[in-house]
């Protein structure tokens, strides 16, 4: 482990130096394996947050109170420590700027933003002109991962539209949308992109189910929608 930085009170981004890291595609994940002295093993998957070509790989990990791996990664790992990492893994939930033929429509719930942020970073790093939009649902402003980075990307790029909606925040400091994602929010972004998009949805199971349905109601064909679900035991958990 090279370095660790906080994104939110519960979420940290960990940079690793991996000899012979083969590179990765935006959206892929890596498997982390922890081994205790007596051979006991715990393994979990985490989405890669750093874009292809940037220093890393970096994983963004949310600390779950009842987790087995995430409390260790976010609380006990020290610079110089070595862990076992396998990857990159996944060939479906990936986006490549050079192969993109349609706008990019991203819908994230909570920590589901990680692989989508990787796609946005990759898009920016590659200088892609593909129009993109991110609809990001979080409970509170404090829990918005990458809030400043996302703001930077949005300010510098007229082809990128960012919409963050908070489902629990009641704050005068927040002037943005609130409440769960709904058809109006999804439609507004789809219309802004103007044509059928490549859609990527990531978050907990219930969120992904709802978001996929909204995308289809907004006119996105099912085959354009790719989903990644962080269930109770999926990536970014435990």
């Amino acid at each position: 482990m090279v370095s660790i930085r906080s994104e939110t009170p519960r979420v940290k981004t960990i940079r690793f130096a991996v000899p012979h890291w083969p590179g990765h595609l935006a959206g892929q994940h890596a498997d982390v394996r922890l081994t205790a002295e007596d051979g006991y093993r715990a393994e979990r998957s985490y989405s890669i947050a750093s874009p292809p070509g940037a220093p890393g790989p970096e994983l963004t990990v949310e600390r779950l109170d009842d987790g087995e791996v995430s409390p260790f990664l976010t609380g006990q790992l020290r610079a110089g420590d070595t862990i076992e990492l396998r990857g990159p893994i996944g060939g479906h939930f990936v986006w490549s700027a050079s192969e993109a033929r349609r706008p990019l429509l991203l819908v994230a719930g909570g920590s589901g933003v990680v692989p989508l942020m990787c796609m946005l970073r990759h898009r920016r790093l590659s200088g892609s002109l593909v129009p993109a939009a991110l609809l990001y649902s979080c409970r509170t402003r404090e829990e918005v991962i990458y809030r400043h980075d996302l703001g930077d990307i949005a300010r510098g790029d007229p082809r990128f539209t960012l919409r963050i909606t908070l489902t629990r925040e009641a704050s005068t400091a927040w002037s943005g949308p609130s409440g769960r994602i709904d058809l109006a929010m999804v439609r507004a972004l789809a219309e802004r992109l103007g044509e059928t998009a490549d859609c990527f949805v990531c978050g907990r199971d219930g969120f992904v189910e709802a978001a996929s349905a909204l995308l289809m109601q907004a006119g996105q064909p099912a085959e354009t929608i790719r989903t990644e679900r962080f269930g109770a035991t999926g990536p970014l958990t435990h």
Partner: protein, 202 residues
Amino acid sequence: MATRGFKGMRSGTQSKRLPPGQHLARDFPVLSAGPTPHTPLGEWTFTLEDEDGETLASWDWEEFRALGATEVTTDIHCVTRWSKWNTRWRGVTVDRIFEAAGLDEAPAPFVMAFCDGGYTTNLPVEDLLEGKAMVAWDYDDEPLEPEHGGPARLLVPHLYFWKSAKWVRGLRFMEDNEPGFWETHGYHSYGDPWSEQRYDGD
């Protein structure tokens, strides 16, 4: 290689009943590549096809259910590392499906399971016979929910659960073991959890 400072949860569930790298899930996680399909039962069919896509046998929902149900209680193992013990299913065995189709012998050694939404997965026929697999329509005594593959999914519990294709609509026989959806995207062609065959090359 031990990870400095890692002790683990030691909840006693790293038993021999769990394949390597797995842990027990408290719930029943849902994973999918895309949105959940919703096929009306009136339009649902299950079909056996030969390599050219010709229909060998086909049943609508009522006919399929009338083939006769078997119940099974079994452990399941997902490649994302969760497992569940003692899951209960009801459906028709692949043995019975082949029998009802008049197939004494499979016309080819492999099948591609095909599904609503476009999902596919490849399997050797011998991994589906002799009670090893069924097409299930009930889970835990309730009709299988769409998110979990309803109205019916393939159930092949001795392999990683991506082989238990959700929303299954049929099997197409193949001479060669062509890769299905996840197998084309980096996952192992066979998927034996006990040999930890998760990814291509394992």
